[in-house]
């Protein structure tokens, strides 16, 4: 990454692993549980958050010196909500099909704590370019976890990936199902996401002991 200084590059790379918003900062868990039953929804959500967090961080950063501190949370909320509604309306007019896929996520994006968390923790104290990189980095870190969780939940729960059967037909008993394998219905429901996220956190912390908090 010759384009970015080492410090700037870290803004993007850190949240992907050692400062991941979901596994380390434990933000955005709610949406990670809600929509990871299938891979497609995970990808859509990851892209939406990438956009909103990237742009939102820049807007907040530009406004950081004039936002009254007493109402800063409300101002942040308004910025996210406005961004999301603008995107939603434009899509409805020009890409109706896509907008229907996204409709469910609108509410989840506005209330995603990663967004508010990064506004509050980073964009209010840093310049627009750095804030942009921070937003992109955190959204990618969030997206990576979402996609990993979505991958396992859809594969083990429904035997499909992106809606395409990969393990055979569970009703006609072909492919893997011929050997007596069954889909695990538990993977479809939200608690399964918590367990998958838990396993990711476990793996990550046992590989890098520095991440383990003092008890």
């Amino acid at each position: 990454m010759a384009l970015l200084s080492k410090k700037d590059a870290n803004l993007i790379l850190d949240p992907l692993a050692d400062n991941n918003p979901i596994t380390i900062q434990v933000l955005g868990i709610c949406s990670a549980l809600a929509i990871t039953a299938e891979l497609k929804a995970s990808v859509v959500m990851a892209i939406s958050v990438l956009f909103v967090l990237g742009v939102g961080n820049v807007v907040i950063s530009l406004l950081r010196n004039i936002i009254p501190s007493k109402i800063r949370i409300i101002v942040q909320l308004i910025v996210v909500a406005t961004l999301v509604i603008v995107v939603d309306q434009v899509l409805k007019a020009f890409a109706y099909e896509l907008s229907k896929t996204l409709a469910v996520f609108v509410g989840l994006i506005i209330t995603n704590c990663i967004i508010m968390g990064r506004f509050e923790a980073f964009a209010l104290g840093n310049g627009p370019w750095k804030s942009f990189l921070d937003g992109i980095g955190n959204a990618l870190g969030y997206g990576v976890i979402l996609i990993i969780v979505g991958f396992f939940r859809e594969l083990l729960g429904s035997g499909t990936l992106f809606g395409i059967p990969v393990l055979g037909d569970p009703i006609a008993k072909t492919g893997l199902y011929a050997t007596g394998y069954e889909n695990n219905g538990f993977m479809i429901i939200p608690p399964a996401a918590l367990i998958v996220v838990g396993i990711i956190i476990w793996v990550q912390r046992s590989r890098n002991k520095a991440l383990i908090e003092e008890a």
């Binding site: 039953a37 308004i78 309306q89 020009f94 109706y96 469910v104 009703i171 429901i189």
Partner: protein, 249 residues
């Protein structure tokens, strides 16, 4: 900048300005895009109605393919022979009744007044399809759709949609494998309009029994499934007086 951002007057001014700017931006955007959005919604309704009577571009098994928006208007006027409104057991023709908002009509009925319930008669290969709009409640928000029946009260096709059901769970009501199960099911149980129930622990997961008034439920989407069951039942109750007049079985 030498403004004191902690002062109350500053806070109030900032808040007021922000509300005005954001508010007018959104209002401007919404009214500017309204015509396009309305048109998209109209096409969508036509696509759904046609889909319920089996006019679509589905290929093999798998995904749902509606008639493309650029030809949907033409196809709609080709296949939909009559647009009616049903009041009690009477049906009268009414232009563009497909634009009637089912939710508003249900509210009128709730208030004890007489509503105009839309119904469409489609014709394909000499066969008549009676297409009825439905509106109900899922887990998080509204669900709706269309169901098409023949004179024997056998389902010819359904289409469902939803506002905010959980992706991967309740949202799957709009997928082929769920909607296709309804085709061929009778909504009658003897002389009773029993509808079609979405049930778990169904003994008939392959859906071979078309007289049991049941289809297999979606895993992890009990409440959305119950919503579908209730929606079909409620709709049939409203249209029963009219359906009795066309029923031949």
């Amino acid at each position: 900048m030498a403004v004191n951002t902690d002062k109350n007057t500053y806070t109030v001014t900032f808040a007021t300005l922000m509300v005005i700017i954001v508010g007018s931006l959104l209002a401007f955007l919404a009214s500017g895009l309204r015509p396009r959005i309305d048109e998209n919604e109209r096409f969508e309704k036509q696509q759904n109605i046609l889909y319920a009577m089996g006019v679509n571009q589905n290929e093999g098994e798998g995904s749902v393919s509606f008639i493309p928006t650029n030809i949907v208007e033409e196809e709609f006027s080709k296949y939909i022979k009559q647009q009616l409104v049903v009041v009690g057991s009477e049906a009268k023709e009414k232009e563009e009744s497909y634009l009637i908002d089912m939710k508003k009509q249900l509210n009128i009925i709730k208030n004890g007044d007489e509503a105009e319930l839309p119904l469409f008669i489609g014709e394909k290969d000499g066969k008549k399809y009676y297409i009825i709009p439905m509106y109900g409640k899922g887990l998080w928000d509204a669900i709706w759709g269309f169901i098409s029946l023949d004179e024997n009260m056998v389902v010819q096709g359904v289409v469902f949609d939803h506002k905010g059901e959980t992706p991967g769970l309740g949202a799957n009501i709009k997928l082929r494998y769920f909607m296709d199960d309804f085709v061929g099911e009778s909504v009658l149980d003897g002389n009773r309009y029993a509808g079609i129930a979405v049930v778990k622990g169904n003994n008939d997961p392959l859906n071979n029994d078309k007289e049991d008034n049941e289809v297999d439920a979606l895993a992890g989407a009990t409440i959305t499934g119950n919503g579908v069951t209730a929606m079909i039942k409620e709709t049939l109750k409203l249209y029963k007086p009219y359906l009795e007049t066309i029923r031949t079985k």
